[in-house]
């Protein structure tokens, strides 16, 4: 059964108060750092001060002798994760690399790389002990940027990485871990056919996900190996699996309990602390709590990569693009695995290019290993492509929105990466953009308007859900995904809709790893899609059980019972004449009709439905200071079906704001020795309330037929268009094209000075 007809819905599409809301406005909600255990120790990490250095020796004796210190660990305390054990389940992480990222073995590969850890009875003692750990390093040459790292003779991070994806297989190790390539048609012929060809180079700096909650965990390992982990992450099952492999424990011995999570945006889809706390706890016999400082978050946890993006577009005078090419080089950080492939795919996926080629390089460098960040890889590639589309529109003297209407992907378009689109809403986002008041609003001096689009795959995958009818007819839903932005509400809404009961009668719970079946992480914009599919199917199974129980009570066949509006009714006159039975009545009698009423469902959800968005941004540029003010912003997105529209809008507004930060102010600044100079929110500036206007949203609903309610992922694509939308707006306001992020005041000033030396001299 599906619920795609919006007119029939009573709960889905409304805006109830989230079930965990009161806990979060009153300070009751327990996040990663809020837990305590009796006898708990505090764990702290000793980190490398060098960007690249061989670890010659680590002497922990003095630290261990300090009163209050209960355990000290180094890489030598951890098992070697062999290549055969590098992967677990369907999770993409390379656990061999992750293990060496959690704690260095042999070499420190970036400033901030963990080399040792201590647990002590107080935070002060643990900090003091860190200074007593003596590490002898041999400093090695380091390399920070992609083209330097790709050059012959560059310092090598790993001697066992040989570039994958090229023939013949290389015989010399390289910092290029892989090359990816997607092609369609004949790109050279396409460029020959063009009346105009433009080729541009764009660059971006690493940016941090910027979750306000630093990583935190509390881990207790008993002498028999039974382990409890409280931690803040995007997946308790991920924490369990990754920790088990890194420390060499069986999964069944680990119970991972999800704390409330204070933001993740992809950055909490891997572990940093849990394996260290596990080992400190194992060695000390005490529970160990670890909480990162903000500085540690910046120095050692995943940014999105800095990158170089080269885009070439060819078009006919009438605006039809004949060929597109993009070359992407992404920083992977200290271990392979940047999201360059997604950057290649997503940048081009918005358009119906007859001929296209994209090549991506995954490049190792002495920076923290990059981590997922909201549509990983896509915002960077799209900054290049969407800026270049705007430059092409200018060269052709065609309205940029019109150029997108002419060349935009639609159902039946075959994308460069081989997918043929069905049920996509991209053109509808363009129609909606054209219909906005925003697009018609007049602009003043030094003001300009930019447009950009974006695409993200969204994800499905493994999810579990259980629905329990309680004795009084209320309902408990247990799911396996940490609630990072209101998903408990959407889960409860879908269950309430299927059961025909009020939203308030459904209590959603995020279960620990022993209370619900395996569920993949909260990421890939997958929870409302895959988790929603699981809770819906579980609720549907419960409806079948409820009909059977009513049939037993009435002594008729279950086929003669129908369920509507939260009650069992005889299906027709032939079924007999009975008073309807509600959930409370059936729940209260469950012992006499066969026992507890519940259903658990495990699925591997497919058909997530792609996400497309188009954004409109107005800016005003101060020519004197180089400051860019965001005047107005409208995000238009195909959301499939908005289950709880307020939280869909919130995803769009939040993604836009992160994009504005990426566009204008956020960047990592390193000194010549590869040390981060701005590891704090004062100098790494994310947008604050006074930087922004209200963010307008337009939710286009093209239902995804593969989801019972038509939902498609909404969380990630809002971060794809903003950087180009802002850059295009700055160009419209000033005539200056900025191709290097962030577009901070010094860069605008320099650009003004370059075009107007006289003004600068005044």
């Amino acid at each position: 059964m599906s619920y795609l007809d919006k007119a029939t819905l009573r709960v889905v599409g409304t805006r109830p108060i989230r079930p965990d809301g009161v806990d979060k406005v009153t300070g009751r909600a327990n996040f990663g750092a809020d837990m305590v255990m009796p006898g708990m120790l505090w764990g702290k990490i000793k980190r490398s001060p060098h960007a690249h250095a061989r670890i010659l020796s680590i002497d922990t004796q003095k630290a261990l002798a300090l009163p209050g210190v209960k355990s000290v660990i180094t890489g030598a305390d951890f098992p070697v994760v062999t290549p055969e054990r590098a992967h677990i389940g369907a999770a993409p992480a390379n656990l061999r690399d992750l293990s060496r990222n959690v704690i260095a073995r042999g070499k420190a590969l970036y400033e901030g790389h963990a080399v040792a850890a201590v647990a002590a009875t107080s935070q002060a003692a643990a900090e003091q002990a860190l200074d007593l750990i003596e590490v002898e390093y041999e400093i090695l040459p380091h390399v920070m940027d992609v083209e330097a790292a790709m050059a012959d003779g560059a310092p090598l991070l790993h001697d066992d990485i040989f570039t994958a994806g090229i023939e013949p297989k290389p015989t010399k190790p390289s910092n290029v871990s892989k090359v990816v390539r997607f092609a369609k048609g004949d790109v050279e012929a396409g460029f020959r056919e063009a009346d105009i060809v433009i080729e541009r180079r764009y660059t971006t700096q690493p940016v941090h996900q910027g979750y306000i909650e630093p990583h935190a965990c509390l881990v207790s390992v008993a002498p028999d190996g039974q382990c409890t982990i409280f931690s803040s992450s995007q997946g308790q099952f991920m924490v369990r699996a990754y920790t088990s492999r890194i420390v060499g424990a069986d999964i069944a011995n680990i119970r991972a309990i999800p704390a409330e999570i204070g933001g993740g945006f992809g950055g909490k889809t891997i572990v940093y602390l849990e394996p260290l706390a596990y080992m400190l706890s194992k060695k000390s016999g005490r529970a160990v709590k670890m909480v990162m400082t903000r500085e540690e978050v910046f120095r050692a946890t995943g940014p999105a990569p800095g990158a170089i993006v080269e885009v070439k577009l060819g078009a006919k005078k009438d605006g039809h693009i004949t060929a597109a090419q993009s070359i992407l080089k992404y920083q992977a950080g200290a271990f392979q695995g940047s999201p360059v492939q997604q950057g290649c795919i997503c940048g081009l996926a918005v358009y119906d290019f007859p001929n296209a080629l994209t090549i991506g390089y995954d490049v190792l460098c002495n920076r923290p290993k990059v981590a997922a960040y909201r549509a990983p890889g896509a915002p960077i590639g799209s900054f290049g492509v969407e800026s270049c589309i705007d430059e092409l529109a200018g060269a052709l003297n065609i309205d940029p929105l019109k150029l997108r209407e002419i060349n935009g992907a639609k159902d039946g378009t075959k994308a460069t990466h081989g997918v043929t689109w069905v049920n996509i809403g991209y053109q509808k986002t363009l129609e909606a953009a054209r219909a906005t008041e925003h697009l018609k609003a007049p602009l003043g001096p030094n003001q300009g308007r930019g447009i950009a689009s974006g695409y993200w795959h969204n994800a499905g995958g493994e999810s579990s859900a259980a629905v329990h009818v309680n004795e009084d007819g209320t309902v408990t839903v247990t799911e396996g995904h940490p609630d990072i932005g209101g998903s408990r509400a959407s889960m409860a809404m879908m269950v309430a809709e299927v059961l025909g009961i009020p939203f308030e009668n459904v209590r959603p719970v995020v279960g620990d790893t022993t209370s619900i079946g395996f569920s993949a992480s909260t990421g890939g914009s997958r929870v409302t899609f895959a988790g929603g599919m699981a809770v819906t199917q579980a609720a549907q199974k419960v409806v079948e059980v409820l009909k059977q129980r009513a049939a037993i009570i009435w002594d008729i066949s279950p086929e003669a019972v129908e369920w509507r509006d939260g009650k069992a009714y005889p299906a027709g006159a032939n079924a007999g004449s009975f008073e309807p039975l509600d959930l409370a009545t059936i729940g209260n009698r469950s012992a006499r009709t066969g026992g507890p009423i519940s259903a658990e469902v495990q699925i591997n959800a497919q058909g997530q439905g792609p996400g497309f968005a188009t954004h409109i941004c107005d800016v005003e540029v101060d020519r004197e200071t180089g400051h860019v003010k965001i005047l107005r912003y409208t995000a238009i997105q195909d959301v499939g079906r908005a289950i709880h529209p307020s939280y869909v809008e919130g995803q769009m507004q939040g993604g836009v704001t992160q994009g504005i930060g990426w566009a204008l102010s956020e960047e990592y600044i390193y000194d010549k020795d590869g040390r981060l100079e701005n590891p704090g929110f004062l100098d790494y500036r994310i947008p604050v309330a006074s930087d922004l206007p209200m963010i307008d949203t337009v939710m286009v609903e093209v239902p995804n037929p593969r989801h019972p309610f038509g939902a498609r992922g909404v969380g990630e694509v809002p971060l794809v268009p903003p950087m180009a939308a802002v850059a295009n707006a700055i160009h419209a306001a000033t005539g200056i094209r900025l191709r290097d992020l962030p577009m901070s005041p010094p860069k605008l000033r320099a650009a003004f000075d370059a075009v107007s030396p006289k003004l600068a001299a005044e």
């Binding site: 406005v25 750092a33 002060a124 909650e213 507004q653 992160q658 604050v688 006074s690």
Partner: protein
């Protein structure tokens, strides 16, 4: 190193605690008194997640020492609701979906209450500047600002129309 004895009033309750000289008020609240509603996002006064009201003044509790609380009246997020009645700011945060992850929320609730205690009729711009010391990475601030303006309208006895 002996601990210092500090006498305060926290959320209306007279309270005494012992703390070390270097402990911040935030450390004391969270680690000594179990008031974990105040959060540490940065420890440097940049994020506002640890906001508390000290004698009618909004401060980052990570920038104040525990010993400095001597003789002061402190309000934390745990003291904003009256019994089971939420403060209008809390209620409007819920109605406007002004939180996603909820980690910055305690700081915003405290900061917004401090604003409305001082100014029951703030403009959008005044609200944005007042809250500029509180970082939120999830919401883009839109729904937070609407919630605060709506709470102000309710406190003034007007029907909110934000």
């Amino acid at each position: 190193m002996s601990k210092h004895h500090v006498t305060t009033v926290i959320n209306g309750e007279p309270m005494e605690f012992l703390c070390e000289a270097q402990q911040t008020l935030l450390d004391v609240l969270r680690d000594e008194l179990g008031l974990t509603g105040s959060k540490e996002g940065c420890g440097s006064g940049d994020c506002g997640a640890c906001s508390v009201i000290v004698d009618d003044r909004l401060v980052c509790s990570c920038l104040m020492l525990g010993v400095e609380a001597e003789g002061k009246k402190i309000t934390t997020v745990e003291g904003i609701a009256e019994g089971d009645k939420l403060h209008p700011v809390q209620q409007k945060f819920l109605e406007h979906a002004a939180l996603q992850c909820g980690f910055c929320t305690p700081g915003f609730i405290v900061a917004a209450k401090a604003l409305l205690d001082e100014n029951r009729n703030p403009t959008e711009e005044e609200t944005r500047y007042w809250l500029a010391g509180n970082l939120c990475r999830c919401t883009g601030y839109d729904k937070i600002i609407r919630a605060v303006l709506d709470a102000a309208a309710e406190i003034r006895g007007e029907a909110g129309a934000v």
